[in-house]
């Protein structure tokens, strides 16, 4: 069963393509796996009140986030008979155009991997206690809110 630990989930700053390659490398050799599904969330340069978002600063309630993620992963691992799950989320500053979320699922059949990944992303948006402070170029900010 997958075990979620604080220092394997949260990453300081943006998630790099090299990090993603390492994660894929570490999971992709199980010979009974047929498909991997990956979602990458990226900080988007939204325009809010005519001001472009330059970066988002993320904070979390670590202990609660780990509990929430452990619950999600345990439920989805069982529901979809997953071979692997990995979640990484950035904390601190992530600039527009950089990656802040990495979700990875593997399963014997592609539909299980794809459906599990999609469901996990939706649950992370709704249930993970993480807050994003959108920072504009004039150093003002607003607090992001996920909508369903």
């Amino acid at each position: 069963m997958i075990k979620i630990h604080p220092n394997t989930v949260f990453i300081n700053g943006a998630i790099s393509p090299a990090w993603i390659a390492n994660a894929i490398q570490s999971h992709h050799t199980q010979k009974h796996t047929g498909g991997h599904s990956i979602f990458l969330g990226q900080v988007r340069m939204d325009i809010i009140d005519n001001k472009p978002v330059e970066a988002i600063e993320y904070t979390t309630y670590t202990e609660m986030a780990i509990d929430a993620l452990q619950l999600m992963c345990t439920e989805l691992e069982k529901k979809y008979a997953l071979d692997a799950i990995q979640v990484n989320h950035s904390l601190g500053i992530v600039n527009a155009g950089e990656i802040c979320l990495f979700v990875f699922t593997s399963a014997k059949h592609r539909r299980a991997a794809v459906d599990a990944c999609t469901e996990l992303v939706e649950r992370i948006k709704a249930e993970l206690p993480v807050w994003g402070r959108e920072i504009f170029s004039d150093q003002t900010h607003s607090w992001k809110e996920n909508k369903n």
Partner: protein, 77 residues
């Protein structure tokens, strides 16, 4: 005995602090009333309360040993 409060995101900004102690109150409705009196900006925003990392969905009694967290809408991902 006081109760310990953790505040996150916009609420930490409004309160000007992310951690403090409150004098004991009976339940979460009383705590909301006290907080919204101290920090009127909370009246205009939605937020949830977690007791010992569990989000509560209705008024709950507060023991002094509880860890209370004030959670603005999530925005991860």
């Amino acid at each position: 005995m006081k109760i310990s409060i953790l505040a996150f995101g916009k609420i930490a900004e409004i309160a000007g602090k992310s951690q403090w102690e409150e004098i004991p109150v009976q339940d979460t409705d009383s705590l909301r009333k006290k907080l919204e009196n101290d920090f009127p900006a909370l009246q205009n925003m939605s937020y949830r309360i977690a007791i010992n990392k569990q989000i509560i969905h209705c008024n709950q009694p507060i023991q002094s040993s509880c860890e209370i967290a004030l959670l603005p809408p999530f925005s991860g991902g």
